[in-house]
Symmetry: C2
Subunit: 184 residues, 2 copies
């Protein structure tokens, strides 16, 4: 919902999800009530998003790095929320550099392996080095729920627009979930 053409991209994602047999929920499904302050408005949007998540059976999270080395932090909250609910979780990222490579880049490559077996930047802070797309809680939460993280290299100007990896998640989720439901 941060994109300049958020509505257009969202409509495309909704149409794709429907084409795979899912009924998507999305920001914008429910109107935000009038509030007196900006802070109250933020709380109202949060409440709507939580209620939509609580009505959903699975999540496909966009982990494409956003404004820095990591995925959008609101998305990380939502992924944790859905994992705690025991829901199948999938994710995609239009960046194929993994977490360790991105944080190393942030340190300009000045990363050293210490005597404790951990890599650290010049500030002494440790880097996770687990061949994962992002922080281990995210990749781990998805793996523990039989999901998958699909990464794909796209043209820089398509970083937040290319939906190929998203569609691959839909395909995987449909195979694993809708067929299970159909045979149940």
């Amino acid at each position: 919902m941060f994109l300049p053409n958020a509505r257009e991209v969202l409509d495309h994602k909704i149409a794709l999800a429907r084409s795979y047999g899912f009924t998507p929920v999305s920001p914008g499904d429910l109107a935000v009530p009038e509030t007196e302050t900006r802070h109250q408005r933020g709380l109202a949007i949060s409440a709507i998003n939580e209620s939509l998540m609580s009505s959903a059976d699975l999540i496909i999270a966009n982990l494409t790095p956003f404004r820095g080395v990591a995925a959008d932090i609101g998305t990380a909250f939502e992924l944790g929320f859905m994992c705690a609910r025991g829901c199948p979780a999938f994710a995609f990222s239009n960046c194929t550099e993994n977490h360790f490579e991105r944080v190393s880049g942030l340190y300009g490559g000045e990363v050293r392996l210490g005597p404790d077996g951990r890599h650290r930047g010049p500030d002494g802070f440790a880097l996770e080095n687990f061949d994962m797309a992002d922080n281990l809680m995210l990749d781990g939460g998805i793996a523990a729920r039989n999901g998958a993280v699909i990464t794909r290299k796209v043209a820089p100007d398509r970083l937040f627009l290319d939906l190929t990896a998203f569609e691959e998640c839909l395909n995987l989720a449909a195979e694993r979930l809708l067929k299970t439901a159909a045979s149940a």
Copy 2:
């Protein structure tokens, strides 16, 4: 657990939590089993952290911005996880600049209010402007569970070491939870 002196800071936090009547769980409570690959090790640590969270009754999340404009993304996952479990949630940050101010800084102040009522950077991406410490899902999740986000300005070299705001969360949590339990 990213800090150079992580064990020392963790021990200090554990002692503080105990002094307020809580029984804290922390990374390091359980040994990580031997694994063949780095990826498997990451998954094993995730599984341990999830089991510790599932054994806990509340969370105090450190939302101090980490390696960029937002809180640590693993912490955001954990906060979402605990919110979905219906647990009381508190947070602290040793940064008093709010989310909007930090993202504006990332854009060098080049932020304009558009005709749709949203602030956007030069890349066209929207900024949340809700007088919140971080993304609205985080602040909103905490508020919805009767928690609080405590922010505090500290000396730059104490950014990840000062535990005053953490202790304020402990104090609030003890007032709201332990007294309730005692009177129940």
